[in-house]
């Protein structure tokens, strides 16, 4: 492939274009896309009275194929250092698409339908994606036009630049952190604020989403201990979440214990589960460890599903008591002898009080996880975890007990999942094994990977992106997983270590105390 050779030698710009080769490449791409589209796009079954009917979408197939051909052409031209034709064609296309889309959106139905008929695809979202990609191409072409002659950055340079960016971001994060924290503390109180145009409206739905995001942030921080610090890839983290949730639910419903008493128990149960998982997998690493933890997660779920007499099986456990505020319940009418939150403080009853209280509970739990992680990173255990991630054999040669180190990582990570689980149970009031499927583990792991292994603020960002945004945009539900996958692929290409994977040392060499200031002299080893 001459084209590929040119790229690898990096002398692409000056060379004349090998037209047949380019057309061959574009044609091949179009052919592959055509083949895929015929299978996946061309036919669909439609429900009609009296059975199913096959609907054809050959127009879309044609559009896909043409777009693939020209898209590939644009890629090739950009690669060959000819951005001008790309810009000249793609930009008008993108602009026309945008105008048409906006027109279809805002004009009266009649006009909209007329305009919509000219758009390449029947689905608005697909059209939007095409438009955005086209703008992306145009932007890239414009960039290449402005920076002609500038050599392309190598992957290593880009890695370094990204790492510097992450480092700068984390340095500012020290300032952003408290601000975010203040926002997190203050914002639920806006629910009580009078309605003004200046303040965002905080209603029950917003608070519910915030609680959900905070739960995932906590889970992400907990899993970060296992995956980010200790480097043990755990695909069954949701199992500990389930253990925590069921511990609280069973203790509370059978023995009538309060949330605050059950919370440590739930943590301990989950930590024990972590140790039980940890023992058999001590010798495993990487892929093998991932497989076993995946199996463990499923085992817990299947046990919960089938041990009917204990866990109530697929019916789940309902009527889980809500947490109380130091013994004050959040109910409108308390039974005899029990004081309620609103009557104690002399307020009128409002159902949102409980939601705000729950929000603060999970906020405190999550911050606890964060503080613990930040602290333990600077302690011998935390450093041993990180050393274990880097090189287990070297750890053994320094007298670190790999077994205990791994088990502490598993159990402490599991403990926080247990806390989060019991919070989940008390918030929902009902749990069943369905809440603890593999996809939950995958999402939590995705938060950690996306945020950057070991990065605390990265987890927050990733949780907001992966959990918060899809909740706000529920209407686009069916594209959620598509965007999820695309984001993952892009990050794996551009930043395999995660968005904000920059590691600050846990300790720096302090300035030498006064006195002898003999600097460690050069390579010779300074041995006199």
């Amino acid at each position: 492939m001459t084209v590929a050779d040119d790229v690898s030698t990096g002398r692409a710009a000056a060379k004349p274009l090998d037209v047949p080769a380019v057309f061959k490449e574009c044609g091949l791409t179009a052919l592959v896309v055509f083949g895929l589209a015929v299978g996946m796009v061309a036919f669909r079954t439609r429900d009609v009275p009296g059975g199913l009917e096959i609907a054809t979408r050959f127009g879309s197939v044609a559009a896909v194929t043409v777009i693939a051909f020209f898209g590939r052409l644009a890629v090739v031209l950009l690669r060959e250092g000819r951005p001008l034709p790309v810009l000249a064609t793609v930009l008008p296309f993108a602009v026309v698409m945008l105008v048409a889309l906006l027109a279809a959106q805002f004009f009266e139905p009649g006009t909209a339908a007329a305009v919509g008929a000219y758009l390449p695809f029947g689905d608005v979202v697909v059209n939007w994606i095409i438009t955005i990609v086209a703008f992306g191409f145009a932007g890239q072409a414009a960039w290449a036009l402005r920076h002609t002659g500038a050599s392309k950055k190598s992957i290593k340079d880009r890695e370094r630049a990204m790492d510097e960016f992450a480092a700068r971001f984390q340095r500012t994060a020290r300032l952003i952190g408290p601000v975010l924290l203040a926002v997190a503390i203050v914002f639920p109180l806006l629910a009580f604020a009078p309605e003004t145009p200046f303040l965002p409206k905080v209603d029950r739905r917003t608070l519910d989403i915030a609680i959900l995001v905070a739960t995932y942030i906590m889970l992400g921080w907990g899993l970060n201990i296992v995956v980010g610090l200790a480097g043990l890839l755990d695909l069954g983290y949701v199992a500990f979440y389930a253990v925590g949730a069921y511990s609280y639910a069973l203790l509370a419903t059978h023995y009538d214990l309060s949330f605050w008493i059950c919370l440590p128990f739930a943590g301990m149960m989950a930590a024990s589960a972590g140790i039980i998982l940890g023992f058999p997998v001590l010798r495993l690493r990487g892929d093998y460890l991932a497989i076993v933890t995946l199996g463990f997660g499923e085992m817990i779920r299947v046990i919960l599903l089938n041990w009917y007499s204990f866990t109530n099986g697929p019916d789940g456990i309902s009527g889980i008591p809500r947490p109380s505020f130091f013994g004050l319940d959040f109910v409108r009418n308390a039974p005899e002898g029990v004081e309620t939150f609103h009557s104690f403080f002399g307020l009128s009853y409002s159902p949102i009080d409980r939601i705000i209280f729950l929000y603060y509970v999970i906020l405190v739990l999550a911050l606890l996880t964060n503080l613990f992680t930040l602290r333990i990173r600077k302690l011998p255990v935390g450093r041993a975890w990180e050393a274990l991630r880097e090189d287990e054999i070297a750890c053994r040669s320094l007298g670190i007990n790999p077994r205990n180190t791994k088990l502490t990582a598993f159990s402490i990570g599991a403990m926080f999942a247990g806390f989060a689980g019991s919070f989940f149970a008390t918030r929902q009031g009902f749990i069943s094994p369905e809440s603890f499927t593999f996809i939950e583990s995958a999402v939590i792991l995705a938060i950690v990977v996306l945020g950057g292994f070991g990065s605390q603020i990265g987890v927050v960002l990733a949780a907001i992106i992966l959990i918060g945004l899809p909740e706000f945009f529920r209407d686009l539900q069916q594209y959620r997983m598509l965007a999820f996958g695309a984001a993952m692929v892009l990050i794996m290409i551009w930043r395999p270590a995660g968005l904000l994977a920059h590691r600050e040392p846990t300790i720096r060499l302090p300035e030498k105390p006064k006195g002898e200031s003999r600097s460690g002299s050069s390579a010779a080893g300074a041995a006199p």
């Binding site: 011998p380 041993a384 880097e390 053994r396 320094l398 590691r503 300790i507 010779a524 300074a526």
Partner: protein, 295 residues
Amino acid sequence: MNAARRPATDNAPLLNVEHLTMRFGGLVAIDDVSFEAADKQITAIIGPNGAGKTTLFNCLTGFYKPSVGRLALNHPTAGKFLLERMEGYRIPWRAGVARTFQNIRLFGAMSVLENLIVAQHNKLMGASAFTFAGLIGLPRYRNAEAEAVELARYWLDLVGLTDRADWDAANLPYGDQRRLEIARAMCTKPVLLCLDEPAAGLNPRESDGLNKLLTYIRDKHGIGLLLIEHDMNVVMEISDHIIVLDYGRKISDGSPEQVRNDPAVIRAYLGEEEDEDLPPEVAADLAAGTDQGGR
């Protein structure tokens, strides 16, 4: 305390290896090797590739359990340890045997200083009362950490890495990584330091610096060094005692002078004259074969 620990005997060598044999299935990697290594001495173990030198180190530092043999270490203060009975990670911790690796094994994503602090894990673990005291920030842990940093600084000064203490270990140049690994091993305060090809890949100036560092460690810290090395300049210049292995067997043992003139060693390194062993017709065929091969 445990079975592996006995009271020390006076005048016993630091390390006493007796009849060490290591088999992997049918392969005998080390075959009945016995030797002694003294403290305040550099004992070099040399031999051609595949002679079993690294296997010997792996037995000593608990990565392999020897098939047969006794590895007795006389710790100057803590008593006598039988290394073959100890769990791997306890050997560096309790018996004070530290090692470096042929292919450098640093904690790449951690800083240089952190590498040296991790090496003092067990001491700090005790000071942090298994994390609980450390978590609430008791002064006892803070003092222990400051001490650990000072020890790290001593070794950083010695290997000339003070200016790069906050670098990621993986970003150091090769020679610095080698020296950092030695410093890291020394931070465990060992009585026996096992170095697996420390001069591999160093330029002459660096390997000269390494010689100085190793003799400094021997003379000032009074510990025993066990050294696997291919670079004969290093070996002959700094070793006090040389052991030669070939195909898992010990073929020579003595001072550098003795070993240098030992015919068995010369045979192992340079090979024997083979022509005289071949029957004449085979030799003729071989000669013809090379002619044909040349076409």
